[in-house]
């Protein structure tokens, strides 16, 4: 019996840490991570104490008499936005509360969620490029500029995905994406087409904007997770600087002002 309890605690602890790091690395805000982990822990009659660092999560599990049963910490794998995992884990945690799932069932479901595929690469490229030309239109661009924004986004995102696959530093991936997209857009301007180059240039790199870190940064600050909020804000700033740097290099190459 005692042995079973110890195994169960260990399993739950490692499951909770896995849930936490999956959420953290898919771009969830700190309070969401904390709420989800605590919700799962209370379902199995434990009390969880959680500390969330920018790249790791530590967890202590206490029983109802406040005895420490589990201590653990896990660092996150590479970070990237994946909302399918966030919504899947949110559903899973409610299912665990309402349907009283066993630990093994939760673990299986988590593994299934983590192995779910992304959208096919071509779909991502096409729709994000469409988003680029949509941006161009909303800033007042005309059809020729929209087509350039489409092509620039397509090339830039393709290069960024390749760079991510080759495991470059994330900021350098963004820099490559921004450089290639603005080189593409700049080529048309240099060729002497009569277009508004501000629209083409400014919208060709917008697919790289760090929207999730920016909004999460604010959410964390509002919730009092000041440290995480600042870290996420600086992260977003670094991405923006990488975008600006790529744009700048392209403009220097084409000698545009």
């Amino acid at each position: 019996m005692e042995q079973n309890k110890i195994t169960e605690t260990k399993e739950l602890g490692s499951l909770l840490l896995d849930v936490g790091v999956s959420l953290l690395s898919s771009g969830a805000s700190c309070s969401r991570i904390r709420i989800t982990m605590k919700r799962l822990a209370t379902t199995y009659h434990y009390e969880a104490h959680i500390s969330i660092a920018p790249k790791s999560i530590s967890l202590t599990l206490n029983d109802e008499e406040d005895n420490v049963l589990f201590n653990g910490m896990r660092s996150t794998p590479s970070q990237g936005v994946n909302f399918k995992i966030i919504s899947g884990i949110s559903r899973l945690s409610w299912d665990a509360v309402e349907k009283k799932l066993s630990l093994q069932q939760v673990r299986n479901e988590l593994n299934r969620l983590l192995s779910l595929p992304h959208y096919p690469r071509m779909i991502i490229l096409l729709f994000v490029s469409l988003a680029g030309s949509a941006f161009c239109f909303s800033f007042g661009g005309k059809p020729p500029e929209m087509i350039i924004a489409f092509g620039a986004t397509f090339c830039g995102l393709f290069i960024r995905q390749e760079a991510i696959k080759k495991k470059f530093n994330p900021y350098i991936c963004v820099f490559f994406g921004s450089l290639v997209a603005s080189l593409f857009a700049g080529a048309f301007i240099k060729a002497g087409l009569n277009i508004n180059f501000e629209h083409a240039f400014a919208t060709s790199v917008l697919f790289l904007i760090p929207g999730v870190p920016l909004i999460n940064s604010f959410t964390d600050l509002i919730d009092g997770n000041i440290l995480n909020g600042i870290v996420r804000g600086i992260n977003a700033l670094m991405f923006s600087m990488a975008i600006a740097f790529g744009l700048l290099i392209a403009m220097l190459i084409y000698n545009l002002n």
């Binding site: 771009g27 969830a28 709420i35 909302f83 919504s87 994000v128 490029s129 941006f135 999730v212 509002i222």
Partner: protein, 161 residues
């Protein structure tokens, strides 16, 4: 009022929101809601701009509408509100202002000439707009989510005890 332009901008902004949703790998069941969210946010923003409301406040209204909408959609589609709200406000991000700010800052590193003052004031103006629009977007999205989360946290406590 130029409704045709407003509607076509809203239409395209919906596609921008959907594209970002796909980039962020949202569940397929939320894609249509994202399109609607992006279109509504942009529709409000551009309508207010036509009524000569400031761009910061117009963006804030658009983002707040998305943030408030995210709560019923979260119930209806069974996703956390942020999954709907974040891609939907991305079309409101002030790309052109950010771009002008960056160019202005680079020009400010050059020699001080006759037009230095005008570049300086334009850059500060664009920078302030960018900063405040982004802050108002984050606020518009985060505050309704915050209210919502407080309620669901209360629910958890009721179930537990």
């Amino acid at each position: 009022m130029d409704w045709i332009i407003i509607f076509s901008k809203a239409f395209w902004c919906g596609w921008a929101a959907l594209g970002f949703g796909i980039l962020f790998n949202v569940p397929p069941r939320t894609l249509f809601a994202l399109w609607i969210g992006g279109a509504i946010g942009c529709f409000l923003k551009f309508t207010l701009l036509q009524m000569s409301v400031g761009v910061v406040f117009a963006s804030f209204v658009g983002a707040s509408a998305v943030g408030i909408l995210s709560i019923p959609i979260a119930h209806f589609r069974h996703v956390p509100p942020m999954i709907f709200a974040i891609p939907s406000v991305i079309p409101l991000i002030p790309g052109v202002f950010a771009y002008r700010t960056m160019l202005g800052l680079i020009k400010l590193t050059g020699a001080i000439g006759t037009d230095y003052n005008s570049i300086l004031s334009e850059t500060v103006n664009n920078g302030a707009k960018t900063l405040f629009i982004i802050m108002s977007l984050a606020m518009g999205v985060a505050i309704p989510m915050h209210v919502m989360r407080k309620e669901s946290a209360k629910n958890i406590r009721l179930i537990k005890k």
